[in-house]
């Protein structure tokens, strides 16, 4: 068990170092960082001095070590575009993306699981078939079209919800939240639904097929034979066992929610990290690109690690094979 955890953490660190290497190569090989600091009449000697001061003459491996050391302290230098520290810029945008991702994950879970349970219990019913068809279309519709469609229906046609931006935020000092005001909730609904819709269909399909599979097993038949109420069998016995893969998938999808937030944030002009990353890509703002990459990779690795460890706790079969390996 301990060996499994240690090996898993070792792998996670290896992945992070690889991503750090990519981030570092971005800095080192795409564009010249001194270009941003010199003017037309900087002499060659001065340029060389700047290079020396920045440590660009050191061996690459030393530079990489320095890069990792700085990254661990969230020091990514200044943005090429705004001349502000990258850490501050990301810090400002981080809460917006996190709240959006959190809200859409909750939406996906609380809409997807009941729909999946219903479709799994009554696969032949009209409503269940409707869910299936809608989910097939949902998978074929790109995220940005869903966003545009929702804006068209709820903002343009009915005028119910704001079509862009993050309003009604409350500043808590280290974190700005839109959870505390009605205005904030109203501006959050459309982006969160857009971002969560794909995950919702995924969870719905997963719960449905797992439910149908579990309901066929012997212990369910036995529970029914013992005369247990359908409610107890369906929710106490069947649903509980379908939730293990759901936890895993949801955890892993959390990472892709953060990545797909780039698209949703663009459609709704939501001031999060994804929108900032996209602007950085368009203007080749390398410090922001590499910082975002490292941050997102760390989140991914952390989530994967937690899910893996949770899985060991939840499912005893893995504990045994983990010991054997």
């Amino acid at each position: 068990m301990l060996a499994f955890i240690l090996r898993r953490i070792g792998q996670a660190i290896l992945v992070l170092l690889t991503v750090a290497l990519i981030s570092f190569s971005l800095f080192r090989f795409v564009g010249d960082p001194t270009q941003q600091m010199v003017s037309q009449d900087t002499t060659l000697e001065e340029r060389l001095q700047i290079r020396k001061n920045l440590g660009l003459d050191d061996p690459v491996i030393v530079q990489f070590g320095r890069f990792v050391g700085k990254a661990a302290r969230f020091d990514f230098g200044l943005s090429y575009q705004t001349r502000q520290p990258v850490a501050t810029l990301i810090g400002d945008r981080f809460p917006a993306t996190m709240e959006l991702a959190f809200a859409s994950a909750l939406f996906a879970l609380f809409a997807g699981i009941p729909m999946g349970v219903y479709a799994g219990l009554k696969p032949q019913s009209l409503l269940a078939r409707l869910f299936q068809t809608v989910s097939l279309i949902g998978i074929s519709l790109p995220t940005f079209l869903i966003g545009i469609l929702l804006i068209f229906v709820f903002s343009v046609s009915f005028g119910l919800l704001p079509s862009f931006g993050r309003q009604g935020t409350v500043n808590l000092g280290f974190w700005t939240t839109s959870f505390l005001t009605l205005e904030g909730w109203r501006s959050l609904i459309l982006p969160a639904v857009t971002l969560g819709l794909f995950q919702m269909t995924l969870i719905m399909r997963l719960v449905r097929s797992e439910m149908m599979e579990v309901l066929r097993t012997d212990y369910i038949k036995f529970a029914k034979a013992r005369g247990l109420k359908p409610r107890a069998v369906n929710y106490g016995h069947a649903l509980k066992n379908t939730l293990i893969p759901v936890i895993t998938i949801t955890g892993l999808q959390l990472g892709s929610i953060i990545a797909f937030a780039i698209i949703t944030e663009t459609v709704f002009q939501w001031p999060g990290m994804g929108l900032m990353f996209l602007q950085a890509v368009q203007t080749v703002d390398i410090p922001i690109m590499s910082a975002y990459l490292l941050l997102v990779a760390s989140l991914f690795v952390l989530i994967n690690l937690i899910v893996d460890l949770l899985y060991v706790v939840v499912d005893p079969r893995i504990r045994i094979s983990g010991r054997a390996a």
């Binding site: 991503v19 795409v30 698209i263 663009t266």
Partner: protein, 330 residues
């Protein structure tokens, strides 16, 4: 697998180095094909027939855009500004041309733009799928056949890449390309950059599948026999192992084509794909979005519908192919 045996792999060398093979005339091949399980499964699946027909029509539309499109939509000379914002099925105020799907602010016929946009979307989709397929098959074969450190390295990279969404990787590659290519060449290189970005973000899945199949095939007798005959490792991989691992690869390629088209549309929509001078469906949707709030819905609606229909048809075709080639479901 038996269906694939009906199509012999293309031969590159002369007949002297290869054992004699059955030579089939075109008519015989058609007869064999009509006799295959795949054709039978295709004939009995209405979904497959309809989606194949829709895909075929769209592909033909794209191929013959120059002939079929009523207007040369991306030649500024052909546009008449007075035709701007014509409603669908309305005649333009300037040229008195009928705009079946309306026109945009420059008097560009949306119906014609759709032909050219679909062509670019399909081109980028197909090219990037071929790119990632060749890369993934090559690396997967190498990893599976050689094993050892090379396998470790290739599969680790694939693992890491698979844990990140493709769109993020494509964005990153695009950003790097932006940094390396001088700004005045952005437009001429855009198509290649986006093909490489999407292709590089999708190779890992092929590599994994091909490696797994290669590991199985490597220990079969025909490979041992080929090795005894003194055929080089490269020859065995290309001529003997490869044809036998192509089944699952084709299924992935079909489904990935739909994904690649959507990925390209997404990138172009985000403004990091194809420029407005060479618009794909995604670029058309991006330019239509700003008119949605003012009521000119058709500029966005028709390209969006086209994208959805195209992706759905290819997806359904891929689903059918996966089931038809899956021996467990037979």
């Amino acid at each position: 697998m038996s269906d694939l045996a009906t199509k012999p792999p293309p031969r590159t060398n002369g007949p002297s180095t290869t054992p004699p093979r059955l030579k089939l005339s075109f008519a015989e091949r058609v007869a064999l094909w009509r006799d295959s399980d795949l054709w039978l499964s295709f004939k009995s699946s209405p979904v497959a027939i309809v989606s194949a027909a829709v895909t075929l029509i769209i592909v033909l539309m794209a191929l013959m855009a120059d002939v079929l499109a009523p207007q040369d939509a991306f030649d500024p000379v052909a546009l008449n500004l007075l035709d701007g914002f014509a409603h669908p099925m309305e005649r333009g105020a300037g040229s008195n041309m009928l705009f079946v799907m309306g026109s945009d602010e420059q008097g560009r016929d949306i119906f014609s733009a759709l032909f050219y946009g679909t062509r670019l979307s399909l081109l980028v989709g197909v090219a990037s799928v071929i790119f990632s397929m060749v890369l993934g098959i090559g690396l997967g074969l190498l990893a599976g056949y050689l094993g050892g450190k090379i396998e470790m390295l290739i599969m680790r990279v694939a693992d890491i890449q698979l844990s990140f969404p493709a769109i993020l990787i494509a964005l990153l590659i695009f950003g790097v390309a932006r940094g390396l290519i001088p700004p005045q060449q952005y437009e001429t290189t855009a198509v290649f950059v986006i093909i490489i970005a999407i292709g590089l973000s999708n190779w890992a899945q092929y590599a994994r599948t091909v490696r797994a199949s290669t590991l199985v095939e490597r220990n079969k007798e025909y490979v041992h026999a080929a090795r005894l005959m003194g055929i080089s490792g490269f020859g065995i991989m290309a001529r003997h192992v490869l044809p036998n691992v192509m089944g699952p690869v084709l299924v992935i390629a079909t489904i990935n084509l739909a994904l690649a088209i959507i990925e390209e549309a997404t990138l172009s929509f985000l403004g990091v794909g194809l420029p407005i001078t060479q618009p794909s469906l995604g670029t058309l949707i991006r330019s239509g979005q700003k008119f949605l709030l003012s009521g000119e819905w058709w500029i966005l609606f028709f390209p969006a519908m086209m994208l959805v229909i195209l992706a759905l048809a290819i997806n359904l075709l891929g689903d059918w192919l996966r089931d038809a080639l899956n021996p467990k479901l037979r």
